[in-house]
């Protein structure tokens, strides 16, 4: 995913704010007259408690609340509810409830059947065959068939649709995706075929072992052709929207809230417990936290730095879980960067002298882990080798940094001057300020800090107009290549233009291997020895969740939650 939207510090890609914002959730409690009155009228609370809610959870046996609602805070309005156009993480939260792809994730992030009951790969991970269940239905009762997937996937790459996420289909390796986007082939040429209404064959142009994982993302969700053809861009409005997930869109007031209710046609509707899910747009994270304490939302993010206090006061409601994103400083390896940065010793010295522990324990305080690798350690199936410098004490690292720096011909007598750019945000500013202090004190480096508004910052990064630049990367899927591919020569996200033939070779090779882990380890080792960039910390998602909301997927490092897995227990709050 392009930009980290995790609850901490970051601005999500398309929805950026100049203020320090974040993420929420909640339920209107019948605590007082006005709220009750307004909520009942406006949010339809009266209709929430339905008679068919079981009194106890069928698996855990916990006593269930009569009001099965879940209300969460959203940072921003989702730019679209069209699965093929979506590129936003909060939009994806809604789409996971409204639609269902071939595969889903369970609370541990493991792959489980969605519309497809099973799949098989053949031809060396170049062909995937999915077998669809025959009881999957759209919310209007139509059956969900392979044709719906073929239609949707072609839409995703169709130049006439112009999806900003068309690259995702290309990334997944679906045959001819690039040629279709370029207009050289018709959308019908896409490598996806309906062999029969329940058998879908996907042909890839290269081996993609994790292809099935990629079908959990919205771009690959099916869409209902008659609805789109009947309503045009208005097809995603409540009343028009026909979807195949556990929920249907009941209400949507842009920039205020979305409400979704149960889809009675959903094949597993019987196992779904929560009746109504509401996403409230609350831009300001502090305001959102206040509303969490006023019981207006069930879930909200935690403003930077407040985690330890909240954890102490509300240990059972305050959560920190790994989020598949890494915060790092990109080093400009090109001609436009400072020549000293082309010296491995200088890059290493900067990285060694950077005390990550101060950042995570004194600044962020949300359970983040100091980073010495690029790949997030929670990434599935990846056990990174910890580089040597990670095992040293900070004092040892500082000593090594000074030696390396002196060897390269720099030091307090011959000070280095570098520019460091970041996008406007309080927390980036703090980290950059601390970084410049550390480098100044330990190595005598003069850092010129510059902050830029988001798009300006991106343009400067793309054009290599910096020496060092703040960066963050979030996994598009739960596999190490989602990180490591960034550092290959051809990657469009490799803004520092780090070029290493061996890295390219290893990553290329990894696609056909049954176990690519050794390759990934070697790539990480090269990144560390060459100090391709400066890893700083691995993200966590920190949030408050009401204690009576259960079923939260704490084991899912992509933070992909499905409302159908949640439930509210009867509790003495």
């Amino acid at each position: 995913m392009q930009t980290p939207s995790p609850d901490h510090c970051e601005n999500p890609n398309s929805t950026l704010h100049p203020f320090d914002f974040q993420f929420i959730s909640g339920e209107f409690r019948l605590r007082n007259h006005l709220i009750a009155l307004a909520a009942a009228a406006g949010l339809g609370i009266g209709a929430m408690a339905q008679a068919d809610t079981p009194s106890h959870h069928p698996l855990t046996g916990e006593e269930l609340s009569e009001t099965q609602t879940f209300t969460y805070r959203m940072l921003d309005e989702a730019p679209t509810l069209d699965p093929q156009l979506n590129q936003d993480s909060e939009g994806f939260d809604i789409l996971r409830d409204l639609f269902e792809g071939l595969m889903n994730q369970d609370p541990n992030g493991e792959l489980v059947p969605g519309v497809a009951e099973r799949f098989a790969s053949s031809n060396g991970n170049r062909t995937f065959t999915f077998h669809l269940r025959d009881n999957a239905k759209w919310s209007n009762g139509d059956p969900v068939t392979t044709r719906d997937f073929v239609y949707a996937w072609r839409r995703a790459v169709d130049p006439a649709v112009g999806s900003p996420y068309a690259w995702y289909v290309e990334l997944a390796g679906v045959m001819n995706a690039s040629a279709i986007q370029a207009g050289d082939m018709p959308p019908e040429a896409l490598g996806v075929k309906a062999l029969d209404p329940h058998t879908l064959q996907v042909d890839l142009d290269r081996p993609v072992p994790y292809f099935a994982e990629m079908t959990t993302y919205a771009t690959f969700f099916p869409t209902h052709r008659p609805t789109i053809e009947a309503h045009g861009i208005a097809w995603t409005r409540p009343g028009n929207l026909v979807s195949n997930g556990a929920y249907v869109l009941a209400e949507h007031v842009p920039n205020e809230y979305h409400a979704r209710t149960r889809n009675p046609h959903y094949w597993d509707n019987e196992s779904t417990i929560v009746e109504r899910v509401t996403g409230l747009v609350v831009n300001d994270e502090h305001q959102a936290l206040t509303r969490y304490f006023a019981d207006e939302v069930d879930r909200t993010g935690i403003p930077a730095g407040q985690f330890p206090n909240l954890k102490e006061q509300y240990p059972d409601q305050t959560h920190s879980m790994p989020a598949l994103c890494t915060y790092y400083y990109t080093i400009n390896h090109t001609e436009t960067g400072h020549p000293a940065l082309r010296d491995r010793r200088v890059r290493s010295a900067l990285s060694y002298a950077f005390d990550r522990d101060i950042i995570v324990s004194s600044l962020l305080k949300g359970g983040q882990a100091p980073a010495y690798n690029f790949t997030h350690p929670a990434t599935a199936g990846f056990d990174p080798t910890v580089p040597d410098y990670a095992r040293m004490t900070q004092a040892e690292r500082d000593e090594a940094a000074r030696e390396l720096f002196a060897a390269a011909g720099y030091g307090p007598e011959n000070p280095l001057q570098l520019s460091l750019i970041y996008n406007t945000s309080e927390s980036h500013k703090k980290i950059a300020t601390v970084a410049s202090q550390m480098w100044k004190q330990k190595l005598g480096v003069d850092i010129k800090l510059s902050n830029f508004e988001w798009k300006t910052y991106l343009v400067r990064r793309k054009n290599q107009e910096f020496d060092l630049s703040r960066a963050g990367w979030c996994g598009d899927y739960n596999e190490a290549s989602t990180f490591l591919d960034v550092m290959t020569s051809s990657s469009g996200a490799n803004d520092g233009k780090f070029m290493d033939a061996r890295v390219d070779e290893l990553m290329e090779q990894s696609r056909t291997l049954d176990d690519p882990t050794p390759n990934y380890r070697e790539v990480e080792a090269i990144l560390a020895s060459e100090m391709a960039m400066i890893p700083i910390y691995h993200y966590t998602s920190v949030f408050m969740l009401k204690p009576d909301i259960r079923g939260w997927p704490f084991g899912n490092v992509q933070n992909n939650w499905y409302s159908k897995d949640l439930y509210r227990v009867k509790s003495a709050r």
């Binding site: 006005l34 307004a38 900003p164 920039n255 809230y257 991106l458 400067r460």
Partner: protein, 307 residues
């Protein structure tokens, strides 16, 4: 008078056109495009998107097509950041919200502001004056981004009387805090302007004449002093009203009201050109309109003014 009004309207058309061209140029000169992202789009996808929105055409052509669509179809184009909505729809949805809380805040600030101001002037140098000045200074130093969280803390979290945000079609519990938060500083300004203007008026010759004729003080204030004293207030009201009804980023952000204020910031950050243009033109037209209205009001209030 009619001639003057028509002339002003005629001037408004080129003014708005200049506004459009200037905003268009400024917007396009900002670094980055609507499609700049952390992961750069493949060139072919970018080309498709630019073709879809006509961004591959020359600048004059883009402006001309944009203006033409507005004139012929009243179509402000698609939004780049909200794929499911057109700019017309976004404004049609958000503007009534903003108009509602903005108008209420406007009424509240006028009534409370002039009331406070007149009371302070009339009972000058009494405890009432000190109180009124105190209140208005207090309100002045509490900008809405401070007021909003304070109000929510008190009325939502502590007292539990009012919902902490949302709009719900404008039901009154959802209106109270946004209106108060938005109105306070305007109320304070109006109170200060009213007070000083009223003091000045009460010291002017015609008031002294009226009083020396033995008219009761109350009548002098209401019948003679009120109208001239409110003149400076009225010139302040025109732009204030436009400011209030075109929204407040702060109110929309703190109270999740869904008004159009937030789009000024978000659309600019997202480089959502059509949406920036839409809200800019809306403000432009309203500003021109209300300035004209204020000028006409002047004539009604002060017979000495002639156009």
């Amino acid at each position: 008078m009619l001639h003057y009004t028509l002339k002003r309207i005629a001037i408004a058309v080129p003014t708005i056109l200049i506004l459009i061209v200037l905003s268009f140029a400024l917007m396009h000169s900002a670094p980055g495009s609507p499609f700049t992202g952390e992961r750069p789009l493949p060139p072919e996808v970018l080309a498709n998107l630019e073709a879809k929105y006509g961004l591959d055409r020359s600048f004059p052509e883009q402006v001309a097509r944009y203006v033409w669509r507005i004139v012929t179809d009243f179509d402000f184009g698609p939004s780049y950041s909200h794929h499911d909505r057109t700019v017309n729809e976004i404004i049609a949805q958000g503007f009534p919200v903003t108009l509602t809380y903005g108008s209420l805040a406007f009424l509240f600030s006028i009534l409370a502001g002039t009331g406070l101001g007149i009371a302070a002037a009339v009972y000058r140098k009494t405890w009432l004056d000190s109180l009124a000045v105190g209140v208005s200074v207090g309100a002045q130093v509490l900008p809405n981004f401070i007021m909003a969280p304070i109000l929510v803390l008190i009325f939502t979290l502590w007292l539990g009387w009012l919902p902490g945000g949302g709009w719900q079609g404008g039901q009154w519990p959802y209106l109270i805090m946004p209106v108060i938060a938005l109105a306070t500083s305007f109320m304070a300004s109006i109170a200060r302007i009213t007070r000083s203007s009223m003091i000045e008026t009460l010291n002017s010759d015609f008031i002294l004449t009226a009083r020396s004729k033995g008219l009761p003080f109350r009548q002098v204030v209401i019948r003679h002093a009120m109208k001239p004293a409110l003149l400076p207030v009225i010139s302040y009201l025109g732009p204030t009203f436009v400011g209030l009804i075109t929204g407040s980023v702060v109110i929309d952000i703190y109270f999740s009201t869904g008004g159009i204020g937030q789009h000024f910031v978000n659309a600019a950050i997202n480089r959502d050109y059509p949406l920036i243009m839409g809200v800019t033109i809306l403000i432009g037209i309203l500003t021109v309109l209300f300035n004209l209205l204020v000028d006409i009001l002047y004539v009604w209030i002060d017979p000495r003014i002639r156009y």
